[in-house]
Structures are given as structure tokens and as C-alpha cells.
Subunit: 213 residues, 2 copies
Amino acid sequence: MSSAEKNAKMQATTTKRTTYHHGDLRAQLTEATRQLVEERGPDHFSVSEACRAAGVSTAAPYKHFKDKTEMLRAVALGGMQRQYEQMVAELAPHPPGTLDRIVALGRVYIRFALAEPGVFRLMFGLSKDHDDDEAMVNMGSNTFGLVQHEVALCRGSETIEPVDEGRAFLLWSFVHGLSFLQIDGKLSKIETPIDIEHVLRDVAHRMMHDHMA
Amino acid sequence: MSSAEKNAKMQATTTKRTTYHHGDLRAQLTEATRQLVEERGPDHFSVSEACRAAGVSTAAPYKHFKDKTEMLRAVALGGMQRQYEQMVAELAPHPPGTLDRIVALGRVYIRFALAEPGVFRLMFGLSKDHDDDEAMVNMGSNTFGLVQHEVALCRGSETIEPVDEGRAFLLWSFVHGLSFLQIDGKLSKIETPIDIEHVLRDVAHRMMHDHMA
DNA sequence: AGGGAATGTTAGCGTGGTTAACTTTATAAG
DNA sequence: CTTATAAAGTTAACCACGCTAACATTCCCT
């Protein structure tokens, strides 16, 4: 184990480092960025503060990132990966083709937004820049593909048809809006408290089944 | 008409002003802010640039606004008022108690988001600060009250019950999410194009009527 | 051993938000 | 018609921040 590697561990606990090289600065800057985005919000994040947290000069990040937005993008990508993994994990317990699986996906979406509102905002903010990043676009496709697939399964089909794409998008719109309204505190302004679990079931049901004329 | 008032009109057309006093700097700074927010996005707005647009020194705004966020809040408030007025206007043509009125409200919501994405983002971004502003909170209540009222009417009730509050919130979540996904370009990534008008009707119908077991 | 390539640091530039101190104009009272 | 006061501008400066250039140190490979 090199001294720089030992250093990397020390640095994580705010100990001053002794070696010139840091160890794994890119990872630690990303983590510092993630924390700050969560604490202060994506708007009030500053590179300088991340540097202070990592115990490094303000010029150091530019050996690992092109600019500030690339740092934020790294955090956003990490968030998308975590969200995706959580979705896959929550899918497992439920039998294929059931509404439960659709509900599970929506639950993860909202749970993630509430657990990491800062990162969640990042994942959709700056989306002009995000579209230029291949990894980001791919992760987005993967996650949405998951939803589309479940919707098709729920209809009894293995292949995704236009109708599935449409329904999946409507479900996405719904949980997306619900997530944002929640983290923006709009739900607390309502008299009657809302049972998210119940709402999720209700909406999924309404969207997946034919309705009355 | 004072010379300063004449000045105010000139300034709107980028003409250099001749009088020391500006005329109606607060209004013109707000308008400049609105334009810049729309052009560059809320994140990339700078007070300095607004000052340049208004032909005034960078210290001038602080005679009219506490700080940068108060400028942005003024723009956000203006947006909420416009949105509210558009909703009231679009309501008029349709007979009370019909689904058409619900659909009309959703249509205005989405139309506004697409027409003024920058301002629309402002209306929900910075919401931690917005909650401290009474005018902002009131406008929010007014607009949401409009939806609640229509939902109750559609059920044949003049008074808003918990069930109406819930349905209204679900409808809000949906159009909110749909709006954001659209202005973030997520809809264009879909194969099958979506007919917003049709979707709006479909969803409103599904939400307002009982569904099958 | 030695020489890049990688990864840090320092110093400095430009922009931006904000304030303090000063100047000019509007307004209203005597 | 003065003239005091408040309102509404300006200038100059401070500090934080994003970023780059030039330099320093270390890693690692031959």
C-alpha cells in the first residue's frame, strides 16, 4: 500500500495529509461535491468549498475535471446509478407482470427524491449539458426502459409497444411531479395528509387499466 | 410629465438617458431580469448583466431590491400572476362542472411552462426563499384553489372536500411532472410522439372518475 | 538512475454580489 | 423662492469564486 493510498483514507476524516499526492482525489472531490450539493443545494455549491473539504488547493480539481459542471455531472451520474440499482433491487421480490412491480418502481423514484433531494435536482437540472454526456443519456434510457418493460409485462407482452411507451411516460410524469412538489414543500401546504403508498397504487391502477366511458 | 418619466420610456429602447434619475428603474430591472432569465436560464442570470441592460450602475438595484434573490422573486411572482390570469381566462368559455374546465387548467399550466420555461423554473426553484414571501404563498394558494374548486364542481359540490384536495393534488403532480419533463427535453427522447391535448383529457378522465376494481 | 507523465501548488486574472460613502435630483415646508 | 430632507443614482472597494498558466513534486517505467 503506497503512502498516497494511506493518505486517501486519512483525508476522508479531515486529517491533514503528509504526502504531496493525495491518493484518490477525484473520488473524494466527487464525494465532497455530493455532500455539499445535498447540504447547500445544487445552486449554492462552490468548487472552492469542495476543495476545502478535501483539503486541497482550488486549482487541484482541474487535473480531474474539465470544469465545475463536470464535477456536478459526476455526482448526477452517481445518483442515476444508485437510483437504477435501487429499482432493480425493489423489483425482485414481486412476481413479474404484477402492478406491484410498477408501484415498486414509483416508490423507489419518490423515495430517492426525498432521500437525496439535492442530487435528484442535479439529475434533471443542467439537462442541456447532460444531453451531451453519453453515460448520462444511457443511464436515463436504462431507467426509463425498466419502466417501459414492466408496463409491457403488466399488459402481458414481452415486447414494448407504443402504448407501453405512452403509459410509462405518463407514470413517469406523475411520480416526477409528485417528487418535485414534495421536495419543494408543496405537499405540506395541503390540509389532508396524503398516503403516498396508497396514492401510488391508486394511480398505477388508473393508468394501467381501461377506464369507463 | 417629468423628465424622468420620459427617460423611463427612452431607456426601454436602449437609448442613453440624460437625466440623473431613471424614471422607473424597479420595473425595468424586473423586466430585464425576466428577459435574461428566459434567455440564459435562472442559473446563469447575473445582476450585472441586468444593470447593463437597464443602462445603470451595478449598485443601483440595491435601492430597489434587497439582493439578487429578491429580484428573481419579483420575476417569479409576476409569472405566477400571469399564469393565474391565463387560467381564469381559459376557464370562461367552458360550462361549470365539466371536465373541459379541468383540462383547460392543465393546458394553461403546460402551455405556460413551455412558453416561459425560465420563469416557470423560477416559480419552483428557490422555494425555500419563496415560502418566506407572503405574496408568493398567496398566489400559490389562489392558483391551487382554482383547481380544487373545479374538481369539487366536477363532482357536483360547491364546497371543497378532502377528496377534492387529493384529486387536485394528483392532477397538479401530473401536469407539473409533464411540464418539467418536457422543458428538460425528456419527451423528445421518446419514439412515439405524444398528443398533449389527448393525454390531458385521458388523464383528467381517469383521475376524476371511479375506476374498475 | 533518470526522465516523462501525473498530480499537486501558487499567483493572478476576470466576473460577480454587495456595501459604504458620496452626488444629484425630487419634493414639500416655511 | 429658498432650503432641508429623502429618494435614487454613482464610484470605489472588498471578497468569493471559476479558471488558467507556470512551477513543484512525486510516481513509475525503462
